[in-house]
């Protein structure tokens, strides 16, 4: 246990060192309460920067992302809920702006496809295994029986 946690600490320290050059790329935003700060952090990590697309608002240095972070901050200070803030951005930019799209009719296939594919895989695997078992099974027992009987010979079936 102790060794594991030590390794983990070392790894975390290494990661922190790697991340250090980026830590100051974006001026941190201070929210008045820790609860608001936590919500703010969670929200900015959940939105896509529409300009750079593969980065979140939290990590993007472009000015549009800064404007969006400011808007999120102002909405939080105005007492808006997380859902209201998400709806605000989805109404203007579409679901694309969310890194985790919601489960709605339009995105259903996105969420269900992995499960469906897994089920198809499992069913075909089960089918193949059963067929193989059925093919091999009787021959085995046949052989076993003939061994038991002591009547081993190529002419048995003819």
């Amino acid at each position: 246990m102790r060794r594991l946690s030590r390794t983990r600490t070392a790894l975390l320290a290494a990661l922190a060192l790697l991340a250090a050059p980026f830590a100051h790329a974006i001026a941190p935003t201070r929210m008045p309460t820790p609860a608001l700060q936590a919500r703010y952090e969670r929200l900015i990590h959940g939105f896509r920067c529409m300009q750079c697309q593969d980065e979140s608002l939290a990590n993007s240095p472009v000015s549009l992302a800064a404007d969006m972070r400011r808007q999120i901050r102002q909405m939080l200070l105005a007492g808006k809920t997380d859902q209201q803030i998400r709806n605000f951005f989805v109404a203007r930019y579409g679901y694309f702006i969310l890194f985790k799209p919601p489960f709605v009719a339009k995105t259903a296939w996105l969420w269900l496809a992995p499960g469906v594919l897994l089920a198809i895989g499992a069913v075909s695997a089960a089918w193949v295994i059963r067929r193989r078992a059925a093919l091999v099974g009787p021959e085995d027992t046949d052989e076993d029986q003939s061994l038991d009987d002591g009547l081993v010979g190529p002419g048995k079936h003819s």
Partner: protein, 180 residues
């Protein structure tokens, strides 16, 4: 015998699907706007050229207009400028500009140099109005109908081809022109 062809068939299906996926992949820089067919945002912003005056969506009601988001810092907007002047010259639809995250003095001297295609220009130095329109780059152009509904959005610099094939046919003026 046929069962040996099943994996091959599956492979062919997968290859065809992947090939289609690569060829039909939507351009990643063109994100469809959820605002098409929806009312354009209400706005009342200071005019770029006359800070005492306002450019408002209310005053634009009842008219078709092209809402063009630009900035002097935006290189593609410079490319688009001659086409905007050409569109303004046709007199078929007024151009309403949104000067996005810009400096007022720079924008004004830019328009003096290159010519001003806009009927009115709203000034949005803070960038909030652009967020309301779902803008993620410049230039972006929205076609708004007299009921205030966004009919079409064009992303990137408007080319003569885009004007003739994507924007003009959606205007009543363009439709009558085609019909005659």
């Amino acid at each position: 015998m046929i069962r040996y062809f099943i994996p091959l068939g599956v492979l062919v299906v997968v290859v065809v699907l992947l090939a289609l996926g690569i060829h039909q992949a939507p351009r990643k820089d063109l994100v469809p706007s959820p605002l098409i067919g929806k009312p354009a945002p209400h706005f009342a912003l200071p005019s770029l050229t006359n800070p005492d005056k306002q450019v408002t969506s209310a005053a634009l009601r009842g008219h078709w207009y092209l809402f063009n988001v630009w900035g002097t810092w935006c290189v593609s907007c410079h490319i688009e400028e001659p086409e905007l002047l050409a569109i303004a010259h046709t007199g078929l639809v007024p151009l309403i500009g949104l000067d996005w995250k810009d400096s007022r003095s720079q924008a004004i001297s830019y328009l003096r140099q290159k010519g001003n295609p806009y009927q009115q220009i709203a000034f949005d130095p803070g960038g909030l109005e652009a967020i309301h329109w779902g803008v993620y780059g410049a230039p972006e152009t929205f076609l708004v109908n007299p009921q205030g509904i966004i009919v079409y959005k064009y992303i990137g610099p408007i080319t003569p081809h885009a004007w003739r094939h994507d924007i003009l046919p959606r205007l009543p003026a363009g439709q009558t022109e085609r019909g005659s």
